[in-house]
């Protein structure tokens, strides 16, 4: 029933859009780059379904016709953040400590790329909104916990650990700067690359941009906005081969505020659209980037003992079955692949796009990518 409804929805008027998309100029495949965006838990009923599609106007509207879309992507592992993202990055279901105490038990895409393409840490970046993701998620890569920077700064003020006592724009910027200058390791950032954010000149540029962000027209209520902002700076200034981003505003669902959860999904959709358009403006990415968007999992079904959308613990298709969208140079032809695939299929597939072999991955290469 679910499958029928979804396929019907996806079929609405899409043949025409596909036809238009396929006439576009084929993308260059030289020096491929990858931007992988994971989000927290989003159920099908709030996204790619008849009742949910209004929450994702850009994903289901402008992006869908250009995409290779997998509507049935299973998370067969532990449906928690650290283990899921590690599973996506390694191609092996991970069952490590979910508080980020341990590294993933197998090499990640970052490590495969560094070892096989002989590139430095500067080519592999991870910018995340989720505080559960410590630097252990991106072993040997540059890891920036952008939202955590904002959280720490706000916390320092409201908990009275700062000389500032009121939470105002200029004061917040001061705190962000202090942490960025002196204290970034404490919030879990791992910056092994000399030429990246540690470079004093680049750091100043980054701080100036941070000031623009804080003083911009929109008050920073969303950690994902900051994550987007930091990631866009990394793309513009460092142009890494792999950038993994993680959005987490949707995880406000844990506190039971459905309206804020929906707002998180809509913000996610808007940021993904902004990111895609931004990539088209960057010469280093325009013709050779593959962008992948995938929720980590769904959420629990209404009426379960795990309190429905609040959590992502149940062994149900609502929680385990997600979707994935692939855009850009890695897509030979836009299509909807109605076959069921697994999240662990993505590391070997994306690795192949980048010219590396994820030798320990248990997942299978997705044939639709033509690699």
């Amino acid at each position: 029933m679910l499958r029928r409804t979804l396929l019907r929805l996806l079929g609405l008027g899409l043949a025409r859009r596909f036809a238009l998309a396929q006439t576009a100029e084929p993308a260059s495949r030289s020096s491929p780059k990858l931007v992988l965006v994971t989000t927290g838990g989003i159920r099908r009923q709030e996204s790619f379904s008849e009742q949910g599609v209004g929450n994702i106007p850009h994903l289901a509207g402008e992006l869908f016709p250009q995409a290779l879309f997998y509507p049935y992507v299973w998370n067969e592992g532990t449906t928690a953040h650290f283990n899921t993202i590690s599973s996506i990055l390694t191609g092996v279901w991970q069952h490590v400590d979910d508080w980020g105490k341990d590294r993933p038990a197998n090499p990640t895409l970052f490590q495969y790329l560094q070892a096989q393409r002989k590139v430095g840490a500067n080519e592999t970046w991870l910018v995340t909104s989720n505080k559960a993701l410590t630097a252990k998620i991106g072993v040997d890569a540059n890891v920036i916990l952008a939202k955590q920077l904002l959280i720490e700064s706000v916390e320092r003020i409201i908990m009275g650990h700062s000389p500032h006592h009121k939470l105002q724009r200029d004061v917040l910027l001061d705190e962000l700067t202090t942490i960025m200058q002196d204290d970034y390791e404490r919030i879990g950032w791992s910056i092994p690359s000399e030429s990246s954010i540690l470079d004093p000149e680049l750091k100043q540029v980054f701080l100036a941009a941070l000031a623009d962000f804080i003083n911009g027209p929109n008050s920073p209520t969303s950690g994902d906005e900051l994550t987007w902002f930091v990631a866009s700076e990394v793309l513009r200034r460092v142009s890494p081969t792999i950038l993994v981003m993680n959005f987490s505003d949707v995880e406000v669902a844990h506190s039971g505020t459905y309206s804020l959860h929906l707002a998180g999904i809509r913000n996610n959709d808007a940021l993904v659209w902004r990111l895609w358009n931004y990539l088209q403006t960057l010469p280093a990415y325009r013709n050779n980037v593959t962008m992948v968007v995938m929720p980590e999992f769904g959420r629990d079904p209404d009426g379960t003992s795990t309190n429905g959308f609040f959590n992502h613990r149940s062994d149900s298709s609502s929680n385990r079955m997600s979707w994935a969208m692939i855009l850009g140079s890695g897509v030979p032809k836009p299509a909807v692949v109605s076959r069921e695939v697994r999240q662990i299929d993505f590391a070997p597939s994306l690795g192949a796009l980048l010219g590396v072999n994820c030798s320990q991955a248990a997942g299978r290469v997705l044939p639709e990518l033509g690699v």
């Binding site: 508080w99 959280i151 939470l167 950690g223 309190n307």
Partner: protein
């Protein structure tokens, strides 16, 4: 049976030999309940006693068959070193259990076991269960969009037309229900519960025992919990230690009114079990009601949802914190957001009640917008048919007497 080794203050319903036969993963959770036996609600004590007696009289082969799938899974799982004396499952233990590749199967098998036990109890005792009532009211002040408000409930329910707005009906209905005649098999704590965002029903003086819990009224307790939870290092050891300290802090001094120990501990557990109860009033109402149905099974429950403030710039990124602290931006109400939140949470209140055998098939569920002269009713045709026959709106006395008569039967 009485077992001093368990440290219980009352007769312990569990024979240690039976405990030893249960799957390993059951022992810490059961021990935790036994340790706090005198803080459990009568309904929980009756349920555990019945379960243990039923398991004790189950033939060996049936007992083994019941638990065999779980035991088989446990043998493949790397579980913590739980012993018969392990007092509870720590946060660390839970983490180990949850990240096991076999956890989803384990959880499904546990649910199956409890479904079987529940079905056996229903077959033996179902006829003796009392009728139940749940009344929910939405927050006021929002522009209500066209179309159904409660999408999954409306097709199952009937609209009751009322002569007055529900906000005027509610206090009278509550007073009548709370003051209904006492039934000898219903203990005071099982009669009437109120879970509300701001104080109204829980402050009313009524004849009859009422357990009233209010999110705003419990503000000092919530703030103390948040203060302690947010001043810890976020690692497993300190989280376990902080939770342990929160299990023992004296709540009486922080509560504006005196509660019986079982209710006081209920509040503590609701705040410790997440689901937004510490942070958002409507989440507190829903999650509190869900836990009340599961544990205390009150005969009548009133859930009043309210209007939360809009999230503030800056501090909203630290949702787990007190939004008022150090933020100079004044509070502004968010009726539209609160309405959307409560739309879903009302449905969750209904669904969580329907999961409990005490409520299934014997519950009258009423939900209304405060300003509307109607209420959606779900329940037995015996109650609904006479009230929905004509097109004449019901007076408040007609509704209250119909409800109290139905509860008394």
């Amino acid at each position: 049976m009485f077992c001093r080794n368990w440290g219980c203050k009352v007769a312990n319903p569990v024979d240690p030999a039976l405990l030893a036969k249960l799957p390993r993963s059951f022992v810490p959770a059961l021990n935790e309940q036994l340790q706090t036996w005198d803080l459990l609600f009568p309904s929980e004590r009756r349920a555990i006693q019945w379960q243990m007696e039923w398991l004790a009289r189950l033939p060996d082969a049936s007992f083994r068959a019941l638990f065999q799938p779980i035991v088989a899974l446990e043998q493949k799982m790397e579980l913590p070193d739980w012993k018969l004396s392990t007092e509870r499952m720590s946060v660390r233990d839970t983490g180990i259990l949850v990240r096991s590749p076999y956890y989803p199967q384990w959880r499904a098998e546990v649910e199956k076991v409890f479904e079987k036990i529940g079905a056996a109890r229903e077959a033996e005792e179902g006829q003796r269960q009392r009728r139940r009532l749940i009344v929910c009211t939405m927050p006021g002040g929002a522009q209500v969009p066209s179309g159904p408000v409660w999408k999954s409930l409306e097709p199952q329910g009937h609209w009751l037309l009322l002569q007055s707005p529900f906000a005027e009906v509610l206090p009278k209905l509550f007073r009548a229900v709370a003051g209904r005649q006492r039934q000898p098999d219903v203990e005071p704590v099982e009669r009437t519960w109120v879970l509300e965002y701001d104080e109204m029903l829980s402050l009313m003086r009524v004849d009859g025992a009422v357990t009233g819990l209010c999110f705003n009224g419990l503000g000092p307790v919530r703030r103390e919990f948040l203060l302690r939870l947010n001043s810890i290092d976020r690692n497993l050891k300190t989280v376990d230690r902080t939770y342990d300290s929160l299990r023992h802090i004296d709540l009486d001094a922080m509560m504006k009114r005196a509660y019986q120990p079982d209710v006081r501990e209920f509040v503590r557990n609701v705040f410790l079990s997440g689901n937004g109860a510490l942070l958002f009033g409507n989440s507190f109402v829903q999650w509190g009601a869900s836990e009340a149905f599961r544990r205390a099974a009150p005969q009548a429950t009133f859930c009043r949802f309210g209007v939360r403030p809009k999230l503030k710039p800056f501090s909203s990124v630290v949702l787990f914190e007190d939004q008022h602290r150090a933020n100079p931006v004044p509070d502004r109400p968010d009726p539209e957001g609160s309405f959307i939140d409560a739309q879903v949470l009302v449905e969750y209140v209904y669904l969580s009640a329907m999961r409990e055998p005490e409520y299934t098939g014997r519950t009258l569920f009423l939900v209304a917008m405060p300003d509307d002269n109607c209420a959606l009713a779900l329940g037995s045709a015996e109650f609904l048919t006479p009230l929905t026959k004509g097109s004449v709106p019901l007076s408040t006395p007609q509704l209250t007497s119909a409800v109290t008569d139905w509860l008394a039967a």
